[in-house]
């Protein structure tokens, strides 16, 4: 017995506007819309709708909208419709619930409970339109010792650094989880912006080697696409230990998503599942991690920074301390709201901790131990705006990864159905007819617009605080105040309450 589950959203068509042009029918990979030849009218089947808003956006007469269904089970404060439906789905199928994108649950968002300072009277604000405002920065170890040769000239002992024109990087999204055109958009935007995009664990497509100086390549437990040329092509190498959306578990790209092109890039046969195991089978300790860090450094002649990426979990401050001692140049921490192409719902929604708290604790721990300069810190896992970016830097981050925001710029409407592989926006799909809907010429420009806009806003907020360099904002927690937070939350974040003075 498969219980019928009422769709959560309904397609509503304004018959007075609809001209039965059938665009919605052609644009919906989920086959929601159809033309009824008998009546000459369009029909729609809401049970197939994922609420991606493609039809709404392309309808030339704006005849469509998607509304939340008002159908409801008997209202229950404990058993929500969603919770009940999940039980039905599992009773129907016996399967593990699978979801996509970041944790949508209503947990507190600490970014929204922090306020930013501004200068008044005693320390004048700076107008970024007429005064220099530096958002360029470098990521890497800052532990160089001053050494001179026999003639007294400085010997460069600085570890390799990544130069960024803005404190933003595109987070790891593999070719396979997202499309060729999405990758091209990210790569070209990174090049134009002077920042970086990240291959994820999917290898580097042969067409994108030319963007190598703006590329971070990932080495994860499955080691897909990893070989000498791949490592040599990149500006930096990221070892993926964990991901915010699914801490503690690996990845699984179903065989149906392994197209010929994805297969060539990952260097695995077409059509078979690609499994990234949960652990790296050669890493059981910080000492083992150090071995992978150094094997990558040796293979690339110590020319590239090595990033170690972990999910934000309860003990991440101690883990970060270990990573900082492993020889890694940069630590990336991914919060529990970070996106994914597919993750078990229960893990996505219940495992990990907010990036705000993890970042504050990691930065504090590294400073206490006197090793903060051993590494730079990148954080991700739902940086939604330039305000989140400013707050993250003030809490101690050097730069931020953005993933979901970048996909939104490309047209994603957060329908959270990436795992079905039928993305109507041409992003999370390998179907050629869908992929071509995302034009990289347009996509890359939209990404450039987004990051440029955020960078302007960053400059405005920095100027307001009387700070003219993003490096002077880093870890400057006096620029933050909490609002609506408990004493414990304030102490974990290491900030004062709004109204408390310096």
């Amino acid at each position: 017995m498969n219980l019928y589950i009422q769709p959560e959203y309904e397609v509503v068509r304004d018959e007075s506007r609809c001209i039965a042009c059938r665009v919605c029918e052609r644009q919906c990979a989920n086959l929601v819309h159809s033309f009824d030849a008998e009546t000459g009218k369009m029909k729609s089947d809401s049970t197939l709708c994922v609420n991606c808003h493609r039809c709404v956006c392309v309808c030339p007469t704006h005849a469509l909208k998607i509304v939340k269904s008002d159908d409801t089970y008997k209202v229950n404060g404990n058993w929500s419709n969603q919770t009940i439906n999940e039980v039905y789905r599992q009773a129907n199928s016996g399967g593990v619930l699978l979801s996509s994108m970041g944790n949508p649950k209503e947990y507190p968002v600490f970014w929204d409970k922090m306020l930013i300072n501004a200068s008044q009277v005693t320390n004048p604000p700076i107008d970024p339109l007429r005064e220099p405002m530096e958002t360029k920065l470098w990521l890497g170890k800052r532990t160089a010792q001053v050494k001179r040769d026999k003639k007294g000239k400085l010997i460069n002992t600085l570890a390799p650094q990544l130069e960024l024109k803005a404190p933003i990087l595109f987070s790891a999204m593999s070719y396979g989880s997202i499309s060729y055109n999405a990758h091209e958009s990210l790569a070209r935007a990174a090049e134009e912006l002077g920042i970086y995009y990240n291959t994820g664990e999917g290898g580097l497509h042969k067409d994108f080697y030319k963007y190598g100086k703006n590329t971070i390549v990932q080495v994860a437990s499955g080691r897909f696409g990893v070989y000498k040329d791949y490592l040599d092509a990149a500006a930096a190498i990221e070892i993926k230990m964990g991901q915010g959306a699914k801490p503690g578990i690996g990845g699984h790209l179903p065989g149906t998503k392994i197209s010929a092109d994805v297969s060539e890039t990952r260097m695995i046969p077409q059509g078979i599942d690609a499994i990234s195991p949960a652990p790296h089978h050669d890493i059981y300790s910080i000492e083992d991690l150090r071995q992978l860090v150094y094997s990558l450094k040796e293979a690339t002649d110590y020319k590239k920074p090595v990033i170690v990426k972990i999910a934000a979990v309860h003990n991440c401050a101690a883990i970060a301390s270990g990573i900082a001692r492993s020889g890694a140049d940069i630590i990336a921490i991914d919060g529990y709201r970070g996106g994914t192409g597919a993750a078990p719902t229960r893990i996505r929604d219940n495992v990990g901790i907010p990036i705000e708290l993890a970042l504050a604790q990691v930065d504090e721990r590294l400073r206490e131990e006197g090793i903060r300069d051993e590494v730079s810190i990148i954080v991700g896992g739902s940086i939604r705006s330039s305000a989140d970016l400013v707050k993250a830097i003030a809490l101690g981050a050097d730069a931020c990864y953005i993933g979901t925001a970048a996909l939104l710029a490309l047209g994603c409407h957060l329908c959270r159905t990436c795992h079905e592989g039928k993305c109507n926006w041409g992003i999370a799909t390998q179907r050629p007819d869908l992929v071509k809907r995302l034009n990289p010429d347009v996509g890359y420009k939209r990404l450039v617009n987004l990051v440029t806009a955020w960078n302007h806003e960053l400059q405005e907020m920095m100027g307001g605080m009387g700070i003219n360099s993003v490096e002077a904002l880093r870890g400057n927690r006096l620029m933050l105040r909490g609002i609506g937070l408990t004493d414990t939350e304030l102490s974990v974040l290491g900030i004062k309450y709004a109204g408390q003075s310096m």
């Binding site: 990893v226 297969s263 260097m267 690609a274 094997s295 040796e298």
Partner: protein, 240 residues
């Protein structure tokens, strides 16, 4: 050229190897230096002594011959070339190999050949003369692993959990009784003799390198393990 590795730090030793113009390099008195031949292509290394962890990681077309034992993670993510070990190998030998061959005269440790994968002409191979530890070929996605099981005592030629999560490639075990505790994702097929093909060719190469009589190893009972292709993973999920 010959490098005396005695007392050399791995970074110095490896820099010398990388920067040497010579194609053939002998390393004497090797004593635990890690990452030797990392990502190296176009060279031939003869190592006397015991190289440290991650020997030949990302190896990209060189030949490495070790007169001694090797430690952990030999040939990690190796892409091409050959590693020949006149001794035994440690844990995680050939982890995530994508190409090339590893020949081990003696035993190999735990987790050998984990997550090996193949693509077109890139088809990695590991031949282990003695026994292999537990977790052999876990998550194997491609390539060939052969365990010849030559040993003086009478222990089983593999440990537990061989091929867990296997979804491609082949494992050949030279034995007449199927080892216990094979996971569900593995299908086993009994062979009275090794048929002509890639595995037989690998066994011949192994015999030639270590001066063994190939008829003894070819005409012998084997089990061929492969992935159970009913795709046991997809069933596990329900779209939410």
């Amino acid at each position: 050229m010959t490098i005396d590795a005695k007392g050399l730090h791995f970074a110095d030793l490896n820099r010398e190897v990388r920067e040497s113009a010579d194609e053939t390099i002998d390393i004497e008195n090797c004593n635990g230096q890690r990452y030797i031949a990392g990502g190296l292509s176009g060279k031939k290394l003869e190592i006397h002594g015991t190289p440290g962890n991650a020997l030949g990681s990302y190896l990209n077309g060189s030949t490495v011959v070790v007169h001694g034992n090797v430690q952990e993670a030999t040939g990690d993510t190796m892409n091409g070339g050959e590693i020949v070990v006149h001794g035994s190998a440690g844990d995680a030998t050939g982890y995530a190999m994508r190409g090339g061959k590893i020949f081990v005269l003696g035993n190999a440790g735990y987790r050998s050949g984990i997550h090996m994968k193949a693509y077109k002409e890139n088809k990695p191979a590991i031949v282990i003369g003695g026994r292999a530890g537990s977790f052999l070929g876990e998550y194997q996605a491609g390539g060939i692993i052969v365990v010849l099981g030559e040993s003086e005592d009478d222990k089983p030629l593999i440990g537990n959990f061989c091929g867990t999560g296997m979804h491609g490639g082949e494992i050949y075990l030279r034995c007449n009784k199927l080892p216990a505790r094979l996971p569900e994702q593995v299908r086993a097929e009994k062979l009275d003799c090794l048929p002509e093909g890639e595995a037989a060719q690998l066994v011949r190469e192994w015999c030639k390198k270590f001066g063994k009589d190939s008829t003894k190893y070819l005409c012998s009972g084997y089990y061929r393990l492969s992935a159970n292709t009913d795709n046991p993973y997809r069933q596990m999920y329900t779209a939410n």
